[in-house]
Symmetry: C2
Subunit: 475 residues, 2 copies
Amino acid sequence: MTKKKLLPSKKDFPAEWYTTIIKLADLADYGPSKGSIIIKPYGYAIWENIQNAMNPIIKQKGVGNSYFPLLIPMSLLEKEASHIEGFSPELAVVTIAGNEKLEEPLVVRPTSETIMYNAYANWVQSWRDLPIMMNQWNNVVRWEKRTTPFLRTSEFLWQEGHTAHATLNEALETQKWAMDMYKNIYNNYFAIDGCIGNKSKAERFSGADETMTFEALMPSGKALQAATSHNLGQNFSKPFNISFQTKDGADEFAWQTSWGLSTRSIGGLILTHGDDDGLVLPPKLAPIQVVIVTVNMSDDEMRFANELKTILENGNITTEIDTRDDERFGFKLNKWEVKGIPIIYKIGAREVENKKVTAKARFNKEEREISIETSLNETTKWLDDIQTAMLANSSRNLAENTRTATNYDEFKSIISTHKGFVKVFWNDNSEIEEKIKKETTASSRCMIIDHHEKVGKDFLTGEPSSTEWIFAQSY
Amino acid sequence: MTKKKLLPSKKDFPAEWYTTIIKLADLADYGPSKGSIIIKPYGYAIWENIQNAMNPIIKQKGVGNSYFPLLIPMSLLEKEASHIEGFSPELAVVTIAGNEKLEEPLVVRPTSETIMYNAYANWVQSWRDLPIMMNQWNNVVRWEKRTTPFLRTSEFLWQEGHTAHATLNEALETQKWAMDMYKNIYNNYFAIDGCIGNKSKAERFSGADETMTFEALMPSGKALQAATSHNLGQNFSKPFNISFQTKDGADEFAWQTSWGLSTRSIGGLILTHGDDDGLVLPPKLAPIQVVIVTVNMSDDEMRFANELKTILENGNITTEIDTRDDERFGFKLNKWEVKGIPIIYKIGAREVENKKVTAKARFNKEEREISIETSLNETTKWLDDIQTAMLANSSRNLAENTRTATNYDEFKSIISTHKGFVKVFWNDNSEIEEKIKKETTASSRCMIIDHHEKVGKDFLTGEPSSTEWIFAQSY
């Protein structure tokens, strides 16, 4: 495999690099219908690792996994006006079932607010029935015009959490809890740093009072909206009639949140860490953490490889030995490099004799000699260090490519020369945002939440502003 | 909660008992569209336990989890004639997407043979690319006329495994491996015994050369087709052109299998073990294995409860303390009984003083005193014993209700008086099977595989037959 020829340069041909790496690393392939992908086992194993990281946190919070129907009666979807307005252009609609034309069309869920809240209304009578907190790991369909594997596909996998509370405060606390979880997962599993904040009115979820977002900055200088959590207020509970009797006997509508993270995150993972030699996976999400490759597959080499595998696996390091007999040593090394395996152990006659391996980290190409006695401790420590260093890299990219603009000229200059995040004082205005988008292709990504109380001038109007925003081009 | 009034008798009102228990135990609720259900967290947690039991076995075999698109172009589905003929009456069809009429309708997958094998064809060139072995945990839609929660729903969750091999033998080995896995899971997790065998021509999967099935006998005397694995021969590989170059350089089509187990299995679980007091869950699939209920929720009681919870959880027993302050002790006991919790620990003042609990098994209502020192060992052992005893119960029901008929009169008499499994010598004939079905509502369930070589007489024609079959009414 002459991967150097197969894989275009990440910097010079970012789009080609991205789609090629997905094929070469065997993460996914294209499906037969528009904008659909097939997630192959190596890609799906990353998704399973994401699920395994998130599920304990979700359950610890008291949110139960559940499953609601895929097909939503059109009338349910239409109950909340801005929700249907937002999703209407992207719907896939079932009109025939069991060889008969349906009286009411069924929409393939683009998201499950409406079908879930219709049920919540039946389950809630008193404040004692609240909160209701459910999550789903499922598939949704949004008929997007332009698609890219993982980043934007006509169907994707995600989790969608949906809660109903007796008070606005409890809903806000839950919205924030979800965003903290996403930050934790992105930082500590994806090794991706980013900015948390609120969306502008124009970028908000259709039906939300407020949308929080985790915006990651990709090496290309474009932002990726990586996960969102919404304060839905009573926007859904009113039309769906999720009402309850309070402790005092009054009638009130529930306060709600929804929050989601999708397979788009795998796109962010590829973009953030991949290089001209292929994928680079952070150890905590890598389906295989260590691959052992032998030079000749001799009995001695394979025996040593198996010894090491047992040691590493007993220490909970996922390990695989390459046992293919139709590929050469160099080919194998390339193959696993393209697949982004965090550490490769190489074993030849010399290594067998010395009871050592030559090990190489995918992330920074560092090589080490590791003896069998210390292999578990050293490798565990090394994987941890790689995980930490990868996040540090992402944080450095974020810091180095977040620039401040005080007026529109500076803003445009930064966007056209550097891209990246541009930090500005701005008073949210949808018309103005539309204009900026047209002129610069950049849009607001989020209003910074941990903004220190200070006042500046709106970068466009010069008027006083106390809200700082991140703008960027985005995927 | 006066559950005795709420829950109808299992024996006298089996259908009402079944649907009521699902509501009372909070397993599921009805969805808004025809035949759809909402799987609530308590029901979904059972499904997660099933997944956790099966995934390691599936991965150990080298089968990778993956995800293929939900929507299948109609032309793909039509490529294998008997496949589309079988599924055509049950299809849900998307005709509109993104506000436009689609040129080609997209079918919501009823099963994924066609979309997967279309991809397999692209991935296979040489014998070195085989086997391909992938599994999906996903949702499928089949627009059924008559539906019942879990047992037959318009949408259900399942796993579908799909393999392609270089030889028929390898495919047959895989088909058998899958059925062994299902038997293992049903016996050792569901505590459900059953009969393994091949389906008759009439009952075979649309597109299969042979279908193996695990048929469980429910207490009602009706059979439940609990999981199937199919030898697809080259029926799909030919129209989809999954061809490969053999070691000798010849061109050949791949040999294929598919196999699945669905949320229908939860229906079987309810039917098999539930009683007039509610659900009874085998410990290995119970979302909570031990619930601790205190009489007064006093500080002492709660402290003792927490001590016990820590001990049990450290021993990997999933444990929950009932902390609701708005329900009485007796109400709580009933609530957990209906939900089928394997063991309930009861704690009052006396128990606190003696550092003992009064424990009760849901399965046979046995009560024991358990001291805190031995609680982990005793409870672990007891849960194991319950699991074993529940399977023994199912095996006994199977043995006691499998009867032999040598002619059609005996057959009809057994079906009308006892129901259950009827064992007969029979030469598979679809016309005759159709006639039997009309006259008795019973159909062939499977041809017994571990049949000892002997020859009998076809129970209808009297002709010599060397194949023994199980007939029964079924869900």
